[in-house]
Symmetry: C2
Subunit: 357 residues, 2 copies
């Protein structure tokens, strides 16, 4: 079985401002360990997938950074998307690239900036899923058992019956992909038990993907064929033209929500998309008062604070539930439950054409 | 009338940590304006006292810094105390120095790290007080009309009757110097109306000071004579020996509380000793939400914060009543009403022999 891991590393989020910047998005940050998140992603795959079979896809600027971090990967494995056009175009390009290597290879489409607390279990699920995908019929997706009624994730509704078994795991037929629900629906999904969070990770055989596109996303299929052709001819100019024309859609919207023959496996490997600063409260070890820090802190009468200030001493006096992030040129002090507003600061900086982005 | 201003610049406070450090105490900080506090002190005197008549007194390490800041003062005007031994020894030494220049000169003993919002009025009070002191009988002290029942200042109890008039000001006989009172007594002092805060600033003729010492602080008088002798002979070794022996007392305790013939004049010139970070709320201009900053800030849903972060952008989200101070190697985030606890952080750093002091 030939697994080709495609790490989608083109994200450009700024929810971790001031640490994340336009030129240094989350996947480049060492916020979950001493390694950057994309290095963690590769390290996690290493026992199962050889470096020659690990590819990244990102824009040209990000690719330079990826090459510096991921020195063990062959130079040709850093795929460059001519334009950032959401995940569907990226994955069409990456899968076409794999298809030309081996049409029967299984693509594992993975995010570069997710946390997985149990990498061993992750690899066992991935391997079992690849066996299922390798049959050439289904697309396999990883569903995360919800732990609270999140309105921030999409959900996957599956059927209990008719599951395919492989490697001790059950692969349930997907009934429907649900976009981010409101609170009431999220509560319902959680209570129902037949809904997983959509982790955004998928497995498909390259030729199966082509077939699903042709049948369920016919507006994308001509782009698939044109991309294959451009890759064969190494015609980068044509590739850039295609990327200007291809619809900028997510793979969920472009294909998953429409496709038949999608299976979901339980991704109970401690997944988190680490969506904002406060999510790190679940990741960083905290002291007895619930303060978690990267960098030395002195906390007096203070609790529930997250401090990222690795280069200096931080003293907290009488403060609670704060997020404090210090970088060379910017400092954030944010109430713990308002970290979604970091994007409002980023918007202000954009309007001001600030150098702090 | 020969006024000799003596600026006591030997303070070593760390209440403005992390900005103030052992080697850079408050008088060296530009927290009240774009100048350091000691430069402000000299600038405030300039229209009344020529640079040749302005002296500083501090330890050797601080004197190097003072020379860099106060380039307009003659080199010989930077008096060095061999040891930091509180204000009485400093002022005995400085007054002896002035005495050898001119025994009838009026010493204006001033702090290097106080804020005076109305320097014009300050000079008028100082000049009137110097005229009274120049008569050679009284010591004149500046009393600040209390605006709240502070337990952090000493008080001066004076008599309404028997005031001496000069320059349109009344100089009232001092009845008693009161040390920092408890809350109940502070309330009483405030209600009484015949109590001023002790600003720690004084005027005396050099020979009058010697006479008061001889009569009211006889244990200090032999040191006065030994210091005079050592200064005449330029015997620094003897001066160092005297400073090891002289009692390390404040001038209030050593002389003022015991002396007769002390007058107090109302110091209604916007005085503040700028005792801690929160006192700067009264000094720095604030925005509509009550946020005051040195450095650029973006404040979302935030109010009542004081930010000293001149070298970087600071974003505040959903926070209230915080003091945020960023320096090259340390960061403080402190609840506004708990800034007295900064000294607890400093104590911890001392115990740890930290480099952040």
């Amino acid at each position: 079985m030939n697994i080709q891991a495609v790490i989608m590393a083109g994200g450009s989020g700024t929810r971790f401002w001031p640490l994340s910047r336009t030129r240094r998005p989350k996947q480049f940050l060492d916020i979950v360990s001493s390694l950057s998140m994309v290095e963690e992603t590769v390290t996690r795959l290493a026992p199962l997938v050889a470096p020659k079979d690990i590819l990244t896809i990102a824009n040209a600027g990000q690719t330079a950074g990826l090459r510096r971090l991921l020195k063990g990967l062959p130079r040709g494995n850093f795929l460059v998307e001519p334009l950032a056009r959401n995940t569907a175009p990226s994955l069409v390009l990456a899968t076409a690239h794999v298809y030309l290597r081996d049409p029967k290879a299984v693509v594992a489409a993975l995010a570069a900036d997710h946390l997985i607390r149990d990498p061993g279990r992750f690899r066992r699920v991935l391997e079992a899923g690849a066996r299922v995908a390798a049959k050439g019929e289904a697309i396999v997706t990883f569903g995360v058992p919800p732990t609270f009624p999140s309105t921030g994730y999409g959900y996957i509704h599956f059927r209990e019956s008719g599951a395919v078994k492989a490697g001790g795991k059950a692969f349930h037929p997907v009934l429907e992909f649900k976009e981010k629900p409101d609170r009431a629906r999220a509560e319902k999904f959680l209570a129902d038990g037949r809904y997983y969070w959509n982790s955004g990770m998928f497995l498909w055989r390259a030729d199966t993907f082509a077939g699903k596109l042709e049948r369920f996303a016919p507006e994308f299929f001509p782009f698939w064929e044109r991309i294959l052709d451009a890759l064969r001819k190494k015609n980068n100019r044509e590739l850039a033209r295609i990327f200007r024309e291809i619809p900028a859609l997510s793979i969920d919207y472009a294909l998953m929500e429409k496709a038949e023959g999608v299976l979901v496996v339980k991704g109970d490997f401690g997944w988190s998309d680490v969506g904002a600063w406060s999510s790190l409260f679940d990741v960083w070890p905290a002291d007895a008062a619930g303060n978690a820090a990267k960098g030395k802190i002195i906390a007096l009468d203070s609790k529930g604070c997250l401090v990222h200030s690795p280069k200096k001493l931080t003293a907290l006096i009488g403060v609670e539930d704060l997020i404090v992030v210090d970088t060379g040129d910017a400092l954030l002090v944010c109430r713990r439950d308002l970290d979604q507003k970091v994007k409002d600061v980023v918007e202000i900086l954009k309007r001001e054409k600030s150098g702090h982005l």
